[in-house]
């Protein structure tokens, strides 16, 4: 298993570098999780002394075996070539896909390794290009997985200046590092409630699959009831809730430690790179070119906002933030949730500005924007009321349903309206929106590659316009939703006067 490692580093000096296989021990690493998943079933077999015959069980085993076979086929068929000009990846048995990334297009290299991968000295390399392709398919190329040393050497090769240990030398400056007092903020999250619920749900599911979900018999139920009387129902409920919460808190803390252990953000001006590393079991190091940074985004979940706590990520071309949320520490994250001042000071240092643009004052959007949100809330309430009313055939229930929706939707609508805002501060465009997750995005004005203005019929009547700044970085488009029409045009004009001015209506030309 740890025999010959065929993914030796390629000097890549001459054309036609050889195609390399992935290390064979990767097969074992891949197989282990699937086999581990079979352990509970095996245990059940030992304990119950028989195979709990159930269709679901066979389906699970079959699915595991299938995914195992598919992995093996994929790994065995994958070839990698690092040439002078291209990094190429070829994979697939029946339909072969061939991806290549020109080496001069490489903007970011991300190396990460999970527990098993680290034991096996393997690492996943993700090579990011500046490419913004349409749809899901990105211009990125992922090598999953290669030998640890090969990964490091690739990082060094593709982005010269990246050294093996990011914290090693003094030529770099530290922008941020982990503070343990940030940990409690990770608990203030819906996940703290959701995780134990998911756990209970999956345990119940497992019990059903194994056929041990018999309902309590009468005696047991009576025992339970007498226990409840003995200790007091209230106490039982309190203890139960505390246990439930404790599970969530412990899980969140564990996940914080796992994600952010040894977190450090460094800037290497000589090499022109921003480097991040973090992770306890799953280690992760990211290098991205400073020249590709176009801005930052501050994220403030509703639960954290009263405490002025949030997290930030960097907006850059070449490392799209897709799927992986900054809350969990996506590749572009600037750190865990922390007091806003600290997050912003890290952001300011990353963006090389005296003050983070997110800290500036934003222009609020016109009252019509709030009206639109209230109308939507009212619409939702009417819809919900009608649905419950007709569904149950009782008017009271309909009214109750509508009232419930109003109680949630109206404060939400007001908060959504309050969140809306935008500004042009020095060389930055700032837009803010969202309630459950309020996002303040900062975009370097030079990074704006176009504008779009969207107006529905209702927006036109309300004099509103959704202004979208197009960019090659991050999400590709950042919107100031429901801004005032002239407000929006003014901001676009202020940000890119040369571009917008020729299309401004002069006085005397009259409206169309």
């Amino acid at each position: 298993m740890n025999g010959v490692d065929s993914t030796e580093p390629t000097p890549a000096r001459h054309e036609a570098a050889p195609w390399q296989r992935l290390p064979r021990r990767l097969l074992v690493v891949r197989a282990i999780p699937s086999l581990l998943a079979l352990v509970p079933i095996g245990l059940a077999f030992l304990l119950l002394g028989e195979v709990p015959a159930s269709g679901a069980l066979y389906a699970i085993v079959a699915a595991l075996l299938f995914s195992l076979l598919r992995d093996i086929a994929r790994i065995a068929s994958t070839r990698v070539r690092v040439g002078v000009e291209l990094v190429e990846l070829r994979t697939g048995v029946f339909t072969t896909t061939h991806r290549s990334v020109p080496r001069d297009r490489v903007r970011t290299v991300d190396v990460r390794a999970g527990v098993l991968q680290r034991i096996a000295a393997l690492a996943v390399v993700r090579i990011g290009t500046g490419e913004q392709s349409r749809g899901e398919d990105s211009g990125d190329l992922e090598l999953d997985a290669v030998d640890e040393h090969v990964a490091r050497r690739l990082q060094q090769q593709l982005l010269p200046g990246t050294d093996v240990d990011p914290s090693g030398d003094d030529a770099t400056e530290q922008l941020a590092r982990l503070r343990w007092r940030w940990m409690p903020w990770s608990i203030v999250s819906w996940w703290t409630l959701a995780l134990p619920a998911i756990l209970i749900g999956s345990l119940a599911q497992l019990a059903r699959v194994l056929g041990v979900d018999q309902p309590l018999d009468e005696q047991a139920a009576r025992d339970l009831a007498s226990d409840a009387n003995q200790f007091g129902t209230l106490l039982l409920v309190v203890v139960g809730a505390a246990a439930f919460l404790a599970v969530g808190v412990v899980a969140r803390c564990a996940s914080f430690v796992e994600t952010w252990w040894s977190f450090e953000l460094r800037r290497d001006r000589a090499a022109g790179l921003l480097r991040a590393r973090r992770g306890l079991f799953t280690k992760r190091t990211t290098s991205l070119q400073l020249a590709r940074i176009r801005g930052m985004q501050l994220r403030e979940p509703l639960l954290l906002r009263p405490w002025r706590v949030g997290s930030a990520s960097v907006i850059t071309t070449g490392l799209a933030d897709r799927g992986e949320s900054a809350e969990r520490g996506g590749g572009t994250s600037l750190g865990p949730s922390a007091p806003r001042e600290q997050v912003e000071s890290v952001g300011a240092r990353v963006l090389d500005t005296p003050r983070a643009p997110t800290a500036g004052t934003l222009q609020p959007h016109p009252p019509a924007a709030r009206r639109r949100r209230l109308v939507r809330a009212a619409g939702a309430a009417v819809g919900a009321g009608a649905a419950t009313g007709i569904g149950t055939g009782r008017i009271e229930f309909g009214v109750l349903g509508a009232a419930l929706v109003v109680a949630i939707a109206v404060p939400l609508a007001l908060d959504l309206a309050r969140s809306l805002g935008h500004a042009k501060l020095d060389g930055w465009l700032v837009v803010r929106s969202g309630s459950l997750l309020r996002r303040t995005s900062v975009l370097e004005v030079d990074g704006i590659v176009g504008w779009a203005g969207r107006r529905s019929y209702f927006q036109r009547r309300a004099g509103l316009l959704t202004l979208v700044a197009a960019t090659a970085a991050g999400d590709g488009a950042y919107a100031a939703t429901d801004a005032g029409e002239s407000q929006a045009v003014a901001i676009a004009l202020a940000a890119t006067p040369d571009l917008v001015l020729p299309f401004i209506e002069r006085a005397g030309q009259g409206p169309r």
């Binding site: 500046g130 913004q132 392709s133 349409r134 071309t317 222009q363 990074g447 590659v449 176009g450 504008w451 779009a452 203005g453 969207r454 107006r455 529905s456 019929y457 036109r460 979208v468 197009a470 960019t471 090659a472 970085a473 999400d475 590709g476 488009a477 005032g484 029409e485 002239s486 407000q487 045009v489 003014a490 676009a492 004009l493 890119t496 040369d498 571009l499 917008v500 020729p502 299309f503 401004i504 209506e505 002069r506 006085a507 030309q509 409206p511 169309r512």
Partner: protein, 168 residues
């Protein structure tokens, strides 16, 4: 900012209108898509008895939509769809219910394409599509005279070559 000055700032519409043949093209396209919709509704009603009570309402809605889509939407579009290409920027507006304008600097243009569907070819029209590095989408000018579109592509290509930039 200054409220009074704010009020004065407006974008003027792009200078050029589309070729009026675009209306014909939109009509035909609407006839094809909304007509198919109506046909599907009727076919579903004819095939599945369960749907019978609903089908007349659905068919009525589909027929109404067909009329609006073929008669009104294309003329509405013609009033909104406009374009303008200067040495510095491409500026276009489109839509009807949901209207949109887009501005892209010529220095950030990555690709310039024209596409011609079978219907457009018959009508002598073409769609001009200009993409930038942003994932936000391309600027499309829908119903241009085919020769004009070709000239615009050549002109734009010349300007973009004269404006070096890394386009991100």
């Amino acid at each position: 900012m200054e409220r009074a000055a704010d009020h004065a700032v407006r974008l003027r519409p792009p200078r050029n209108q589309l070729d009026p043949r675009a209306v014909t093209w939109w009509r035909l396209r609407a006839l094809a898509s909304s007509g198919t919709q109506l046909a599907v509704v009727l076919a579903a009603g004819a095939t599945f008895d369960v749907l019978r009570p609903w089908v007349w309402w659905a068919a009525l809605a589909a027929a109404l939509w067909l009329v609006i889509d073929v008669l009104f939407v294309p003329t509405w579009r013609l009033r909104v769809h406009r374009w303008e290409i200067t040495d510095e920027a491409v500026y276009a507006s489109s839509g009807w219910w949901l209207q949109e304008w887009r501005i892209a600097p010529v220095s950030r243009i990555q690709t310039i394409d024209t596409t011609r569907g079978p219907l457009q070819r018959r009508l002598g029209l073409a769609t001009l599509e200009v993409t930038t590095a942003s994932a936000a989408g391309a600027i499309r000018v829908d119903g241009l005279d085919a020769d004009l579109a070709q000239d615009l592509v050549e002109g734009l290509t010349r300007i973009t070559h004269a404006t070096p930039d890394d386009a991100t």
